[in-house]
Subunit: 479 residues, 2 copies
């Protein structure tokens, strides 16, 4: 067995996504191709969120991708935050444009302008829309799925009568992110608030869900922003309130992206390659005839019947009846992370059984043919649960809450490195000063992830200044 | 009742889409906002095509939007066809790019390059993928949904061992387009082949499905292209064949876009506004309490029970219990094209019935409460069928097959104009000469739509030259 995941996580990641045929590079720097096996994961993510959004009364729309420069500059913090990463269209149809058009990095400005036109009265509120779209951030360092120049995401944008309602929407979407990411992707997340320096450009408050990868690094898996009236003021989103006054609306925005694909790979993958949670696997079960199966047509007949029976239950099942050897097939479907493999050959036929191998367990199990149709859905559900539990357990093992000073943090990092272990997430006290925050990053490479709503321990003193801590905060290296 | 549709179809169209709240303009010329009621139509179109594509074994993927100029120029006809309409990114992240990047108008080049990397042997073929994406064509004249600078579409791209297989895929997708557009959107189409001058830039053969709008003009509703080995040669898509030789693959591409939304509006809309086929309506049924309903809570109770029962059957149903008057509500939901309205008030409660008004019929019908759950799905199915039949009939009335010369065509156009009628589709003989084709357009504004596989009449002489006709072809004004 390979040791690559443990020894060189980055190399393991690239090897895993290539061997699983999830992506390819493109001629444009930092832009990847999402191959069908990756894109289908995204489709399952979309389905799950669309269902939740619709339950909230939030509908999908589509807004133009190109944003005039003058719109971008209306909210000062927003343009400052995004301008270093924007690609610009300057020519079209053979002519220089009068005004440059940005490829959207996010659509607060485009949608803010539209909402200003559409919202007249409190009767028009709340206005709540989502869009699934491609967005662009011209990053210096890119990594497939986790940081690409073009990526896919959903961005929800809402406008409300009161601060309270807008804050409620902000927190509600964070909860939905947590629930879907944990239940669908089996990736546990920490909910909390970002520090001011890590806020979305133009937000009053930013909240995030943060996941821990197997190398102990963090992935910001989703964010939800309360904008107050900042964008409403910039775009003049005013409405006639119940007292007949023209006042600004309170807005929110929130998003998850294709980086969730990277997060799930780095959470569940193992030394054999990709491990997919059943709920998002494009193939949940692969049926492999073994032994001299071609001589006995009953083998393929039984397998076809089983496949059809499972498909009727709504499962995604294939038969691999190619001429490759069983060993080759086993390896290929393991690399691709297929949750369940079923082997069936002449001996199994005689014994009225199938052999079942779950991708995340090492032992095979024999299951009577009579029971298999009811066994399989449960086994897949169990694997889904098990992956989340394993990820929680791994996370728990790499959470450190006992570190009180920057020197202790540095020692921790050194010690874990010497042990061949990951430094993980460190819970620290923070005095709330952006300078102490900057110092943590400078001296350790750790950044503030978020301020958890419900920290496992309350830290009393700032890890840098030793002053009374205003916040208890997660620190980690991050993607 | 208004006469706008008959008198000024363009004005009617813009009024209809605005009153139905389907779209809004954006600050970027020719780029529209797809509001939720329009976007949901698109979502139903996506669902239907995804189902068909999956049955064909075609999977979704996602390729980068930005295409380096050097890729574009590899296929000479392709760049010539598209370069007049391309927007270009020339700067990103504060720096001038070394090579301009086009916003994709279509992805043959990006996908051709990828396929060249992925295809080694005949075992890799066929390779068949689809993507749902935004594309850009910087058009001089734009019209919401039908011609916008940015639009949404699907583009399928396949590579095959033989010409025969590629041609089969090309024709198969055309059939799927015809079937889905007719059964889902209730828009009848003519299948046929485009003339060389109307071919996709870089294709060997282009086929289309063409729909007739209520003003008699044509909308090209979908296209399917056989590329031969032209893109394979440009991008070096070679494979080792069964005889161990390196040979070029044969490729296809095919697409439908958000212009289908425009086509369905112009096919079914009437003087009262939008008419939506039940299969794509975001609200299939609206329940409206009438009379002094607030005094009798049983009214809303029965309506809620009915709504829940219909939702359990998978129907999309809402209750309009706002404080607007019934007349206001009736009008609003008619403008929005909701297929079925159900009125229910104290008198109906007493009579154990509901009043049902179908959007496309003028009379209301009373239906016993006991029957209503089984009545409604059938009534919606019937409306779906009726809309297609009506559209077929309208099309039939505006097909002209008796015209033999350009003078007769001009007379026909004049006469129809004088009658306040639409000139419709004219079936003509054509000698196959691009100069006669150009002359038709120049002198009448009619363009060649397609060469039907199975024309209602075979025309013997060319409408321009009087020479023996090589083709029988549909002519029409087109969007
Ligand atoms: Zn460990
Ligand atoms: Zn007519």
């Amino acid at each position: 067995m390979s040791n690559l995941q443990k020894e060189d996580f980055s190399a393991w990641y690239i090897q895993t996504i290539k061997q699983a045929d999830l992506m390819d590079y493109s001629p444009v720097r930092g832009c990847i191709i999402f191959k069908p096996d990756a894109f289908e994961i995204w489709e399952h993510i979309q389905e799950a969120f669309n269902r939740r959004f619709k339950e909230e009364g939030i509908r999908n729309a589509y807004f133009p991708m190109l944003i005039p420069e003058s719109y971008f500059t209306k909210e000062k913090d927003h343009i400052e935050g995004f301008s270093p990463e924007l690609p610009w269209v300057t020519e079209a149809a053979g002519e220089e444009l009068e005004e440059r058009l940005a490829l959207r990095p996010t659509s607060e400005t485009m949608i803010g302008n539209a909402y200003a036109n559409w919202i007249q009265s409190y009767r028009d509120l709340p206005m709540e829309m989502n869009q699934w779209a491609n967005v662009f951030r011209w990053e210096k360092k890119t990594l497939p799925f986790l940081r690409t120049s073009e990526f896919l995401w959903q961005e929800g944008h809402t406008a409300h009568e009161t601060e309270e309602e807008a804050r409620h929407r902000t927190m509600r979407m964070l909860t939905i992110y947590q629930e879907v990411i944990e239940s669908l992707l089996a990736v546990p997340v920490y909910e909390g608030q970002k520090t001011p320096s890590e806020r979305f450009a133009g937000a009053v408050d930013t909240y995030s869900v943060e996941a821990m990868m197997k190398d102990g690094k963090a992935v910001q898996a989703g964010t939800s922003h309360f904008m107050g009236t900042k964008f409403a003021e910039a775009f003049d989103i005013k409405y006639l309130n119940r007292d007949n006054e023209h006042v600004y609306a309170h807005t929110t925005s929130w998003g998850v992206s294709t980086r969730l694909i990277g997060a799930l790979i780095m959470t569940h993958g193992d030394e054999q390659g990709l491990v997919l949670p059943p709920k998002v696997a494009s193939r949940q079960v692969v049926l492999v005839p073994v032994g001299p199966w071609k001589k006995n047509p009953e083998i393929m007949e039984k397998l076809s019947t089983l496949r059809d029976g499972l498909r009727e239950k709504g499962l995604r099942v294939i038969i691999d009846d190619s001429s490759n050897s069983p060993g080759f097939k086993f390896n290929e479907w393991e690399l691709k992370g297929v949750p369940m493999r079923i082997e069936f050959g002449p001996r199994d036929l005689k014994n009225d059984q199938v052999m079942i191998k779950m991708r995340d367990l090492s032992e095979k199990e024999s299951v009577p043919l009579d029971d298999v149709l009811s066994y399989i859905p449960t086994a897949l559900d169990n694997m889904q649960t098990r992956l989340l539990e394993k990820a929680r357990e791994n996370r728990k093992q790499h959470e450190y809450t006992h570190i009180n000073t920057l020197d202790e943090l540095k020692e921790h990092i050194e010690m874990k490195k010497a042990e061949g272990e990951v430094p993980g997430f460190v819970l620290a006290g923070w005095d709330g000063d952006p300078e102490t925050e900057a110092k943590i990053k400078e001296e350790t490479g750790f950044t503030t992830r978020n301020i958890p709503f419900d920290p496992p321990v309350k830290k009393e003193t700032c890890i840098v200044s030793g002053k009374p801590a205003q916040y208890t905060i997660w620190l980690a290296r991050a993607y």
